[in-house]
């Protein structure tokens, strides 16, 4: 019974979200609000569990640990000054710590991981296939496209004009590829929900009935409400 309730609930919320395709409506607003509330609630719970797992049993094991715990709690509480106009500046402290540690951690290896490795990869690419030859031409062209300073650069004539053109075509190909993959992702997400709604194995077959019933109910209420509003709106006579 609990499973059936979960299936119908999931089908309802999926379809309620999709009613937005028709227009903004109450079903959509209910679904998004409940989804947001649930997601935030889940997030808070998991965070609290993580905190408990990290500190439970060890926070009072020594004076040092107690001091550290008190400090961490204090810094954590400063986040809530985000909601105070008067003490807003206190909120900047935990933010600064978080941003600072994050950037510091990333900076340790970013030069090797994402810059030097890419340069090495580019240099060591053997020119043995059309793809590799294209990479060897296109990557430097795109880099030069964003080179704005320097003595005697004229982008309208000479080699820079050709380089700019190759760079633009390269970037267009990149954007096109990104767009194509975006379409794939969006449709994949949609198809996944449709598989659930149609009860395709391993999804529960009961979802198909829920899909049909809830679709009829949602569409009837949406169209019915529109019809009701249209009848109540006085007709303006045009002269």
């Amino acid at each position: 019974m609990a499973d059936l309730f979960a299936i119908w609930t999931a089908a309802f919320f999926t379809l309620a979200i999709y009613t937005f395709l028709y227009k903004e409506n109450t079903w959509f607003q209910i679904a998004t609000s409940i989804y947001l509330g649930t997601a935030v609630g889940y997030g808070v719970t998991v965070n609290l569990k993580y905190l408990r797992d990290q500190w439970g049993g060890i926070w009072s094991s020594s004076a040092f640990m107690m001091t550290m715990f008190a400090f961490a709690m204090l810094v954590g509480l400063l986040w809530y000054f985000r909601f105070s106009k008067k003490y807003f500046y206190l909120y900047r402290w935990p933010l600064a710590i978080l941003v600072g540690t994050g950037i510091g951690q990333a900076m340790q290896t970013i030069i090797f991981a994402q810059f030097l490795s890419q340069v090495q990869g580019q240099i060591s690419t053997p020119l043995t296939s059309v793809n590799n030859i294209l990479i060897a031409i296109m990557v430097p062209c795109v880099l030069l496209y964003f080179w704005f300073t320097g003595y005697g650069i004229n982008r309208d004539t000479g080699p820079m004009r050709v380089i700019d053109k190759i760079a633009r075509y390269t970037m267009m190909a990149g954007f096109g590829s990104a767009f194509g993959y975006t379409v794939l992702t969006r449709y994949s997400l949609f198809i996944g929900r449709c598989q659930f709604l149609l009860g395709i194995t391993p999804n529960p077959p009961e979802a198909k009935m829920a899909f049909m019933v809830i679709t009829v109910v949602l569409l009837a209420t949406l169209f019915g409400w529109d019809l009701y509003k249209r009848q109540k709106t006085p007709t303006v006579l045009q002269t």
Partner: protein
């Protein structure tokens, strides 16, 4: 209003309706379009297949429930391949809802019953770790203290037999990441691949492919499954048909619809522009 102008001002809801039909029809009546196995899925399959049996693999859920339609078929297929071998598997998540996805997976597969894998001896789930990249760095230095308690039994991580010889990134032979964005591959490369040399393979949503593909060329990424179509190829390689294979027809038809609409829109635009200029 001419037909050209009508094409360009068509109510978007008709397009949504067409999209629904393009997806629902092939799902209800499979067309059986052929699936050709590409190099990405073959490389991913072979990478896992060629690992020695005693390898220690960390599987990381870098996605939440919202990306399940695209990544879940790959996730479950990967676990099916992993559990047919004698690997040591540690499951973690850098995304909050990652453990929730693993719960769904465990509702579908029983590792002990289906593959004879004992929790705590052959595999363990350590759950979510906080602070994304900083958390990854901490995990690399000390797994026991970053995730002190496991997710399923709520027992100390150090108490499991599987974890006795696994404490830092140096004890891990491979990371398998399923992901939708940040934190994800870039962070794992910065905090694990570069400092410790831990190899990484991954499956990602289609949107991410142009972003992560350069790491394949540099060798920082061992193999990549890009999106649902490659997942279908992987299911075929494993001979484990699942949701990805059943989605392929719908993907093909819906993409044909998008191509048709793009062509129609452009034809309408250029013809009406030519008409205006004349």
């Amino acid at each position: 209003m001419s037909i050209l102008e009508k094409i360009q001002t068509i109510d978007r809801r008709y397009i949504y309706l067409l999209a629904w039909i393009a997806v629902l029809y092939p799902l209800l009546n499979p067309l059986g379009l052929p699936i050709s196995i590409g190099k990405y899925s073959t490389a991913y399959y072979n990478y896992i297949d060629e690992l020695p049996d005693d390898s220690v693999i960390m599987v990381t859920f870098d996605y939440g429930v919202s990306a399940m339609p695209e990544l879940y078929p790959l996730t479950i297929a990967t676990f099916k391949q992993l559990w047919t071998r004698d690997f040591t598997i540690i499951v973690v998540a850098s995304w909050l809802q990652g453990p929730m996805v693993m719960d769904v997976l465990l509702g579908e597969i029983d590792p002990q019953k289906d593959y004879g894998k004992v929790y705590g001896e052959d595999w363990v789930e350590l759950g979510w770790f906080a602070q994304a990249e900083i958390g990854m760095a901490a995990l690399g230095k000390d797994i026991w203290s970053t995730l002190p308690v496991d997710y399923i039994e709520n027992q100390p991580t150090s108490s499991f037999p599987i974890m006795q010889n696994i404490k830092t990134a140096e004890d891990i032979d491979l990371i398998i990441s399923f992901e939708t964005g940040t934190p994800g591959l870039s962070e794992w490369i910065r905090q694990w691949e570069t400092p410790y040399g831990t190899p990484i393979i991954m499956g990602c949503i289609g949107v991410m492919v142009p972003e992560v593909a350069p790491y394949l060329q540099t060798g920082q990424l061992g193999a990549l499954i890009p999106g649902l179509t490659a997942s279908a190829e992987y299911e075929l390689l494993l001979n484990q048909p699942g949701l990805a294979i059943s989605a392929v027809d719908a993907i093909s038809v819906s993409h044909l619809l998008v191509i048709l609409l793009v062509i129609l829109g452009n034809v309408g635009y250029f013809l009406s522009r030519g008409k205006e200029s004349s």
